[in-house]
């Protein structure tokens, strides 16, 4: 059976999320309390749109909220997102609730209130900008575990100080490991005696905050 996802609020966020979720085969419904936004959302094929305030219990009831697997609250107001998720959790027993929060200080508070996943747009954006600005050789970095762990892809150029070295010879920060080496078309799980060659792409797993030092050490920049 298709997983059902309920999106509450948020115009452009809701739109792009709906498109990508539908593409991945989810059944998606959007609730929005701005009529014009509803019209925009309704242009998306296969998306059901409900006009109403998603923080009101009767609107959620009309939407048959209890039948959903995931609810994602995307409004611009923290209090609305909190109430939407709490109602979905407590009244409609939706398994997974995701809330967007704009005030970074409230992230922990939202988790404490029982919301399963809290996304703080501001801290996510600032950390991405930081990485882009200071570690431009890093091709891709993915935070997981609420940002406590980072997975980074690091391309090794010919001028990097680690070229030709074995892994155990490299001085990496304590909480960083090289989890995988992508060499031409193959992926290998390295051992201590694996040599790093120019053109390799290293996949690093590191605790948050260690990745920049690790990348500097590996690439020499």
């Amino acid at each position: 059976m298709k997983k059902k996802v309920l999106l509450v609020g948020g115009r452009s966020k809701s739109k792009s999320l709906a498109l990508s979720l539908i593409k991945r085969g989810y059944q998606v419904t959007a609730i929005n309390d701005i009529y014009d936004d509803c019209l925009k959302l309704a242009e998306i094929k296969k998306l059901s749109v409900i006009y109403g305030d998603g923080s009101k219990p009767f609107v959620l009831e009309d939407a048959d909220a209890a039948a959903y697997d995931i609810v994602i609250a995307l409004t611009s107001k923290d209090e609305d997102n909190l109430v939407v998720c709490e109602l979905c959790k407590k009244r409609f027993h939706i398994k997974k609730t995701v809330a967007l929060v704009s005030d970074p200080k409230k992230t922990d508070f939202f988790y404490k209130m029982g919301i399963d996943s809290v996304v703080c747009a501001i801290s996510a954006v600032t950390s991405i900008i930081e990485q882009q600005a200071f570690v431009d050789e890093m091709a891709n970095i993915v935070p997981i575990g609420e940002g406590r762990i980072q997975i980074a892809e690091v391309p090794i150029t010919g001028s990097a100080p680690v070229v030709g070295k074995k892994i155990w010879e490299i001085d990496l920060p304590k909480e960083v490991i090289i989890g995988c080496i992508l060499r031409s078309n193959t992926a290998m799980i390295p051992r201590g005696d694996t040599r790093i060659l120019a053109g390799d792409v290293l996949v690093l797993i590191s605790s948050s905050g260690q990745e920049i030092a690790a990348v500097k050490g590996l690439t020499g920049r």
């Binding site: 923080s55 009101k56 219990p57 009767f58 107001k77 923290d78 209090e79 609305d80 909190l82 109430v83 709490e86 109602l87 407590k90 009244r91 005030d103 200080k105 409230k106 508070f109 404490k112 209130m113």
Partner: protein
């Protein structure tokens, strides 16, 4: 209106939302000798306070942890949230209970259906619609109204539960 007994005089009250209810409550509590601090986003709202109001006022967003800390929420015995937005009231009440461990939290809730969100947190709620329905019901009973009117009031009460 007697809201606090004399033994409560040294209590510290924080009121969030300086609307008609908030301002009225602040005036009364202050008159009775309580320490009152009132928070509102809009400075202009404090004009509703009476000239004799002896408490403090803080202009700021009551959902902001910094504003609440500035108001010394950790010292408050009672927090009353009466902004005109239910969701804001829910959030502030929960922040006060769960983060700052305020002993007594009272919130106004226009929509009684949201009560399930509050219940397990030990937050007292008052709902104007239910209170009004009860009062009207009482009035109708007192004036010896017809059976039909009684029934309407009861239905109204049931409907808002």
């Amino acid at each position: 209106m007697k809201l606090v007994s004399s033994k409560n005089l040294s209590e510290y009250f924080i009121i969030v939302g300086c609307g008609r209810l908030g301002a009225n409550l602040a005036n009364t509590l202050s008159e009775e000798g309580g320490n009152v601090l009132i928070i509102d986003k809009n400075k202009e709202a404090f004009r509703k306070l009476s000239p004799s109001f002896g408490g403090l006022s803080v202009a700021g967003d009551g959902t902001d942890f910094d504003v609440l800390q500035e108001a010394q929420i950790d010292k408050a015995n009672v927090l009353v949230v009466v902004t005109n937005n239910d969701n804001v009231n829910v959030m502030i009440a929960q922040i006060a209970r769960e983060i700052f461990k305020v002993n007594r939290v009272i919130a106004r809730l226009y929509d009684p259906e949201r009560e399930c969100v509050y219940r397990e947190f030990g937050i007292d709620t008052i709902c104007p619609a239910i209170l009004s329905a009860k009062e009207i019901d009482k009035m109708l009973l007192r004036t010896g109204s017809t059976e039909k009117l009684d029934k309407t009031a009861c239905e109204l009460k049931e409907g808002t539960k």
